[in-house]
Symmetry: C2
Subunit: 132 residues, 2 copies
């Protein structure tokens, strides 16, 4: 397969696939014309990466996941550890966003949003909300 075809099949832009080759995630063969040649195994790997990325795993985590995937002697505990680490990262991000959201929603709620200049949002940014 050429890159266009795997791109379609894996749901990844060709640019991304070239990038993945650059950083050593996959290593397609080359045809006589210099075109990259992908096998079903390559496609399988790319789809694997695409899904892992879709779950928010970093490229480095994907690299580790791929290595575990291809290591038939792995312990599932290792995979689970990695996944749980990532789950914690997600939870941390969600908590951070929730906190932002909470404060921001309060400010938005307090703002009249009319044509007058008084704005609790700007005031809130100009000085932290002191509750005394």
């Amino acid at each position: 397969m050429n890159i266009g075809e795997v791109s379609q099949a894996a749901g990844l832009p060709a640019k991304t696939i070239r990038y993945y080759e650059d950083i050593g995630l996959i290593t397609p063969l080359r045809g006589a014309n210099g075109y990259r040649q992908f096998t079903q195994a390559h496609l399988h790997k790319l789809a694997f990466i695409a899904r892992a990325r879709g779950l928010g795993f970093s490229i480095d985590q994907c690299r580790t996941l791929l290595a575990l995937y291809e290591d038939r002697g792995r312990a599932s505990a290792d995979v689970k550890d990695l996944a749980r680490t990532h789950l914690d990262e997600i939870d941390a991000k969600m908590a951070e966003l929730a906190e932002m959201r909470r404060i921001l929603a309060d400010l938005v709620h307090a703002c009249a949003g009319d044509d007058r200049p008084d704005c609790p949002i700007l005031s809130g940014l100009a000085a932290p909300i002191t509750s005394d």
Copy 2:
């Protein structure tokens, strides 16, 4: 004030403040020795930016917020629009994270996490979960 002092007072790394100058967010004066000279007004602006960044506003949004802040004739509706846009962005990110979290948590839950190689997490990544 020198950069170290405002850095402390605004809670921003000196590097960040220099960067903000680079991109035109603030324009401190310069002393005879070439050192940046910050006024209380500069500090105020930096603290404003720091809080806006803390709420997740992009640099560009901060630029707009600053402009609105300094425009005494602004309409609070403009501020509210921007804030609401950002609120929507936060909601979108949270939804995306929640969806990742949901799937990932399922996979983690299904994984024994022992020394055997069978791993639903890897299987789930290798092929999407088909419920038929």
